[in-house]
């Protein structure tokens, strides 16, 4: 899952990026307000971690600006200010969660996963469809009760398709969800991962819409 980290402090930003990467997030890191706004407007992140005291343009202004521009991604505000007023203001400006420094990295990761899940209308922790159960926290997948071993990319791809069930996603959209800046994208990477997923989970699970992309259909019949 690709997220944007906005933190001006070099040391803290580095730590948060390393920690979130350990939790299998693809992390892009920017250090000031204008860059954050630019990145959020143009890239399809699953979520953003936003520090409030930023050089150039403060976090709340960035938040207000992207909300006004119609960017709907879940935003977790990370800040040193913990007064109730600050929290209320942050949430009113369009933040989805508000975490005060210092934060436990595992908690931060869990909150981000929950935000992403809820933003896709999934109230439960585990994503379920077609006999497949995907647990984002434990990063494991079961099919009919049997654990299926997936690589990091395969897992993320399945996760993205499950979150966007019923929607056709283009190859570019999927790539943008899987890779952060600077990571080399192998040619045909998405095709390769889809192919492997079909081999492990069944050929009919992921359908190809020729010339458009891939889709994981909603289960039909009795829910």
């Amino acid at each position: 899952m690709r997220i944007l980290l906005v933190e001006d402090d070099a040391l803290l930003g580095d730590g948060l990026r390393a920690g979130l990467q350990q939790s299998a997030f693809a992390v892009d890191w920017v250090r000031d307000g204008p860059s954050a706004e630019q990145a959020l407007r143009t890239e399809p992140y699953a979520a953003a971690v936003l520090d409030l005291s930023l050089p150039g343009k403060d976090g709340l202004s960035v938040l207000a600006a992207i909300r006004k521009a119609g960017v709907k991604l879940p935003v977790l505000v990370l800040t040193a200010r913990d007064a109730i007023d600050d929290r209320v203001r942050g949430l009113d400006q369009g933040a989805d969660d508000y975490v005060v420094k210092p934060v436990d990295l595992l908690e931060l990761a869990a909150r981000l996963r929950a935000l992403v899940r809820r933003s896709h209308g999934q109230p439960q922790e585990c994503l379920t469809a077609h006999g497949i159960v995907l647990d984002p926290a434990a990063r494991c997948v079961h099919q009919h009760g049997q654990q299926v071993m997936l690589s990091v990319r395969e897992f993320d791809l399945l996760h993205t398709l499950l979150l966007n069930m019923g929607r056709v996603l283009s190859r570019e959209q999927l790539e943008q969800q899987l890779y952060s800046w600077g990571q080399e994208i192998e040619s045909n990477a998405v095709e390769v991962h889809v192919h492997r997923l079909r081999r492990k989970l069944g050929a009919t699970l992921i359908q190809t819409v020729r010339g458009v992309g891939y889709v994981l259909m909603r289960p039909t019949g009795p829910a």
Binding site: D8, A10, L12, R31, G56, A80, R81, K101, P102, L106
Partner: protein, 454 residues
């Protein structure tokens, strides 16, 4: 151990009453002496008249033998008066209560005398006429004279005596009433919440109390400002410390979970960096809080040139790490009056900022100039400099300009400004004409104490 404070009411009442009593006593004494003098004169003149009357009567109607006049029947006061008439040393006339010997032993000249007869004091007027051989003595008991005097004084002094207790009550009441605004203020202060710092309102405060109430309100105002700045400082400091703590925690947690050795080492190194950051920040906060407490400067003559050399030697390794050329322009000793420790902090912060915010390979030049007008410490660099709007905001606490990649809190600038202000220095920031980056000048005017001619 504190003494019980005296009562203003009691003291005022006592003072007023004491003054009253003194004036009253003086008045009474004057009345006493004056009345006695007048009464004595009147009574003496009566005695003299009586004597003259007796002499005239006697010469007109001379009795052959001793006549005893029973004067007691004449008036109830008569027994307190006495008359003797001697003709050629022979007693010819006397009142019943008069002795047979002359009232005045030596019987000498005409005039008044006071004599003691049978343990009673008598005022006697003697008439001695050598031509006719007549001696007349008219006497009056002092006791009766005093009784008259007392009667006169009684009517004068009685009202005064009666008025005294009434005066005491009146004075007490008046003082009590006069001090009412003071008691009101005391009550108002007592009823305030202990942490209340708003203005004290005293309705119709008298002119004497206005300075006191004003001073009190000014004090409340000062305390409030102080507390507010203290509160803000504490809050800011706590917030500012959260970031390095968060960084330490993040890196420590990454290190705990990391299996890759190199990444783990990297995270651990950053944990230590975070601790250094927090330490530096705590140090800066302490310095700033000491400065804000307006601590007294330990001022003496300081050679800025030598001080800059020491600080640059200290900072040089950090500059070398970034491949920066750090240079102190050589010059003569540059003496100013100031707090050496604080001036060192100022130089350290300026140099530190230049190193931190200039890129690798930059030049940093420190130079001192001193002339009759001013002493100037300049730190210039060849870094990117700052746009005009950021130059203006520099020195706001926790302000950090855009594009800053170095970790920092902006506290260094606050410290520089405060130390400069404490030394009556002006800090000027501009684009460096020599190196193209930022130039910062701390300028102390020479007419000031901060400048010392050597």
């Amino acid at each position: 151990m504190t003494r019980k404070p005296y009562s203003l009411q009691g003291r005022l009442a006592l003072l007023v009453l004491g003054m009253l009593a003194a004036v009253w006593t003086a008045t009474a004494a004057i009345v006493w002496f004056d009345a006695r003098h007048e009464v004595e004169e009147i009574l003496d003149s009566h005695l003299a008249q009586a004597a003259a009357f007796v002499v005239a009567q006697y010469q007109h109607d001379r009795p052959a033998s001793e006549v005893q006049v029973d004067m007691l029947s004449l008036h109830r006061y008569a027994y307190k008066t006495t008359i003797q008439v001697f003709q050629d040393g022979r007693l010819v006339l006397r009142s019943a209560n008069a002795p047979t010997t002359p009232l005045v032993a030596d019987g000498g000249a005409t005039g008044f005398q006071t004599v003691l007869i049978d343990n009673a004091r008598w005022r006697v007027f003697a008439v001695h006429e050598p031509a006719t051989g007549l001696q007349v003595y008219v006497g009056e008991q002092e006791k009766s004279r005093n009784a008259i005097l007392w009667a006169v004084l009684r009517s004068t002094l009685w009202p005064l005596v009666l008025a005294l207790p009434l005066l005491v009550l009146a004075v007490w009441w008046a003082v009590h009433r006069g001090l009412r605004p003071l008691r009101g203020l005391g009550r108002t202060l007592l009823e305030r919440r202990p942490d209340a710092l708003d203005r004290v309102q005293v309705d119709d405060a008298p002119a004497e109390m206005v300075p006191m109430v004003d001073a009190l309100n000014a004090l409340f105002q000062r305390i409030e400002t102080l507390l507010e700045s203290e509160r803000r400082f504490t809050a800011d400091a706590a917030h500012e410390l959260r970031t390095p703590i968060a960084a330490i925690r993040a890196h420590a947690q990454v290190a705990l979970q990391e299996t890759d050795d190199a990444l783990r080492r990297h995270a651990l190194q950053h944990t230590i960096d975070g601790c250094d950051r927090a330490t530096r920040l705590a140090q800066q906060l302490l310095t700033l809080s000491r400065l804000e407490a307006n601590a007294v400067l330990d001022e003496k003559q300081v050679d800025l040139q030598a001080l800059a050399r020491r600080e640059l030697a200290e900072a040089a390794p950090r500059a070398l790490e970034k491949h920066q050329a750090l240079e102190l322009q050589d010059g003569p000793p540059c003496r100013i009056y100031g707090d050496e420790a604080l001036l060192a902090v100022l130089v350290r912060n300026l140099v530190d900022n230049a190193i931190r915010y200039s890129p690798a390979g930059a030049r940093i030049l420190v130079h001192l100039t001193q002339d009759a007008a001013q002493t100037r410490l300049s730190v210039e660099d060849s870094g990117p400099g700052l746009p005009a709007e950021d130059l203006a905001r520099l020195g706001e606490r926790f302000f950090r300009p855009l594009g800053t990649t170095e970790s920092g809190s902006g506290l260094g600038w606050s410290i520089v400004r405060r130390i400069a202000a404490a030394h009556r220095m002006v800090v000027e920031v501009e684009r460096s004409t020599r190196l193209g980056g930022l130039a910062i000048h701390a300028v102390a005017p020479s007419q000031d104490k901060a400048f010392a001619t050597n």
